[in-house]
Symmetry: C3
Subunit: 427 residues, 3 copies
Amino acid sequence: MAAKPNDGEKMHALAQRLFPICRSITGNGVRKTLKILQEQVPLKIHEVKSGTKVFDWTVPPEWNIRDAYVADKAGNRIIDFKKNNLHVVGYSKPVDITMSLQKLDAHLHSLPDQPDAIPYVTSYYKEMWGFCLAHNERKMLKKGSYRVVIDSTLKKGHLTYGELIIPGKQKEEIFFSTYICHPSMANNELSGIVVTARLAKFIASKKRRYTYRVVFIPETIGSITYLSKNLKTMRRNIIAGFNLTCCGDERMYSFLPSRYGTTLADKVALRVLGNLHPDFRRYSFLDRGSDERQYCSALVDLPVVSIMRSKYGEFPEYHTSLDDLKLVTARGLKGALDVYKAIIEYLEFNRRYITTVSGEPQLGKRGLYKTEGKTISSRETRTIVDTLMYADGTNDIRDLSEILKVTERDVHTAISVLLKEGLIRAR
Amino acid sequence: MAAKPNDGEKMHALAQRLFPICRSITGNGVRKTLKILQEQVPLKIHEVKSGTKVFDWTVPPEWNIRDAYVADKAGNRIIDFKKNNLHVVGYSKPVDITMSLQKLDAHLHSLPDQPDAIPYVTSYYKEMWGFCLAHNERKMLKKGSYRVVIDSTLKKGHLTYGELIIPGKQKEEIFFSTYICHPSMANNELSGIVVTARLAKFIASKKRRYTYRVVFIPETIGSITYLSKNLKTMRRNIIAGFNLTCCGDERMYSFLPSRYGTTLADKVALRVLGNLHPDFRRYSFLDRGSDERQYCSALVDLPVVSIMRSKYGEFPEYHTSLDDLKLVTARGLKGALDVYKAIIEYLEFNRRYITTVSGEPQLGKRGLYKTEGKTISSRETRTIVDTLMYADGTNDIRDLSEILKVTERDVHTAISVLLKEGLIRAR
Amino acid sequence: MAAKPNDGEKMHALAQRLFPICRSITGNGVRKTLKILQEQVPLKIHEVKSGTKVFDWTVPPEWNIRDAYVADKAGNRIIDFKKNNLHVVGYSKPVDITMSLQKLDAHLHSLPDQPDAIPYVTSYYKEMWGFCLAHNERKMLKKGSYRVVIDSTLKKGHLTYGELIIPGKQKEEIFFSTYICHPSMANNELSGIVVTARLAKFIASKKRRYTYRVVFIPETIGSITYLSKNLKTMRRNIIAGFNLTCCGDERMYSFLPSRYGTTLADKVALRVLGNLHPDFRRYSFLDRGSDERQYCSALVDLPVVSIMRSKYGEFPEYHTSLDDLKLVTARGLKGALDVYKAIIEYLEFNRRYITTVSGEPQLGKRGLYKTEGKTISSRETRTIVDTLMYADGTNDIRDLSEILKVTERDVHTAISVLLKEGLIRAR
């Protein structure tokens, strides 16, 4: 089940295609993104009307934008949404006025400490407008009057999200969530989208025990909306969940636990990261900042964690135009995909075993002893016998490996033999 | 709710008034003491007949004493009960005889190691008589014959105790017990009496959630008598209890746990002492010696602990005439009162909180974010949000403080805001 | 209940008598052994037919042997079963042929590293024949032809075992198992047989609370057979079990726990060994090799451990003719017997106590205080009072000893006084 060598490149190519789209928490950018993702996996697209009450929130008006710029007297576009959609504050209301630089300045956002970066700014629930630009460019703006145009609409419409249920043999669900509300940024957040899409494709191609629930939603309002429609089912079925975000750079691996850090998702994530990337960085739930805020909230209480590369808020390019497809690489994406594949393999394979025989089975008659008598001569036979002893329905392969003080591979080999001989069965 | 500056002085003044009264486990000294306490709080006075069976015990005859002395041939009172009521062994039967010093000597008690102290001796259940005196005085007694008079009565009467139930909104009770059987000694035991009386007055003056049960009883036979009449109710209602004793010197704070040290009373006492007096001395239940012997006994099993200043048996003046109102000070008493007040505040305020909202609430629309977007800019907002996450009905303020790694004051502030906004409720 | 001084000699004498008998997993050697054991204890002898299905196994044909030898041309017995029954591979099929040394050699077993030892070899489930001899003797065999005779039978018969149920006041059982399938070897395994027989005799002679189940069975196939017939009852009744093996040398004490090491048998064994032989060697269940493989298997899951002297597989004489009655001594056997007697005493005496009185009882009226007043003057009185406090029905003597920080002997004394006074009762 190892990732194909070109998985990384495929994800990176998809990210390139999605990068220029101007996404927000609602609007056509989200629809266009989901449409492209449907080429990969058969997402069902849901639309929820503006004004719908979702828990403590209300689905906001839909925002769409066609163009936006600040032009000087000569008509030169000094700031141009067409060049980079980060130039416009997300959810800016429409404007078309001429104003002095002095007045315009109150609507400009830049970062003195990162003078070449365009910052990412939004104002979803307080109506306003604004432009973002590199501080170095801002400093070069000349006094005078400017024409300011934002050709946007903010009106009743829908919140759009994509959902994919991949049925398994069992009703128990593994849950994956990522978000589709960020415009042209790569680690936060195209990486989660392309890794989740690729992972869903992988899951659909494999035999599986569990059912998989995969959602592509706007952050916060999207997860709240989704929870308000599906909470009962999710609480009944989800045994482990993962919020995919910041999965694309090459710097490190990070882990953000669930509220108390004690769920199956925490256990599996820690075991897999501990195996594959033992130098991963371990955060506290107090460091949270994405949709685990909803999934792990006190009354929702789902077993959801995040495995990331460089975590949001912790890398210098975060929420600026510097978070681009040079920072996110094919190799970085593939690293995250491989971890999540290992998570799935672990969960799918994480069976607990129970013997079918009272007392020891007669291994001799099955050719499982190489010598006569009862002497256990080889490590393999010893592991088979020890595995049988502890196959009491409570231990998975990792537990057996810890109890027997042998590698998981050795336990795996023993389990295979015993399953073949009908001496144990998975629960 | 801080103690008024003159609380200490008021308690010390009350102690001075009560000091000369000759108390014992029964008799008019107890009645007179309770009468004076009724000026402070509306105690109900109970009388239980001599001979009443109370668990494994029987209420003894009532003891009263009017006068007692040892006089020389010339009629000079060499030992005089009127000078110090410790001079007579508690529960001494009446005598009026003349005897040689040699014979008298078998009835005298003194402390060679503390030659200036009159020891405190009683014999409640074995009929006898005796006198206590300073060893230095004993050594100066001259050979010859002495008239020995104890004008006491030991006959059917009552055991007397005071009880105060201060009703709260809830049936759950906080229990305070102190003892009124010690004659003229201050730390052990007038200090517990005056602190308990002041504490009861404080409780009655405050809004409260819990019901408070406060008893002034003779030690051992009194607590056994009280338990035998009230055990069922006490076991159903008491969530935390405290035996007040040795609350008046300035040397240290001490803690004596319940039988297994795991009750709510233990938890709260340790937290409060840990906050206010982190250098407190921690005893084992094996070091017990007061009414926790009854309250924590195996079949009674109430959640009772003791917070003391210098513990009985552990200070040199213990059970002698040196345990006086110079050892016990206004400042010493106030220190104990303040600890018990903090205990009450902790218990009253020690609510567990549960959010009223699924997912995160929309803080923006409530003006709880100072900035646009989702960035949590200030420590206050962060604590509000984190508190909400863990407001799952299992955590009190101290638990939240430990989980969130912020001060209890910070959690308190967050809780206040959230209660006001209706985003959490106390359980 | 200490062992009589000649217990060790008696066991050693019995071992000498049993030593020459050629035992195997079936056959007349087993019957003869059990017959002799019936002189000690009233064993019930059970016979189970060859071919009976027992869990995953089948009771094998019965094996009996009258004679066996390898003779040279001159008729001299070069290898002679009559001299040592280890010379024949256990379960050898009958042969009577003449063959060259070269061909014979494939049927010979010896130990180059222990050139003076005859090894112990069996082949219960794969039909074959063979001889075992000292490597030094093997090297001296001359080329030529040899007559090879094994006068054995392998045919339908029975598997034989002995069982003794010693009824107690309660249905709960203590279980002892040892094995009777080893021919002339002493530590592994005559020691377990003679210690078990002596222990059964001791149990039968004593008043007892528990019922005792004692079995003398062939290893593996015998315990599987026994379990297949008695599992339901055993699982319902057995509270602690012990597999007796390797109980006879003087080198050390060893402990092999149950599967998870958490049963009452584990607790008691560790406490008793910790008291008597604190330098005992502690093995893991992964080091198992005797009938705990059956008793502790996942679906059987009985609370069975082994206390041994030098463990099977861990002493150089193991499974050779060097494991004889010089290695096993009267003193070695008595050491093991004494441990098992202490186990029984511990289990029988390991009562949990509960007080009969609410609050403290009045010790004074019972003469349990030596002084007037409430001062507890002596260590004895203190332990009595403390024991009462914790006599809440959850603590046995060892628990009390740990809680009160006094010796078990002190608790024992206190318990005796309190039982006599009716102030506590055992549960």
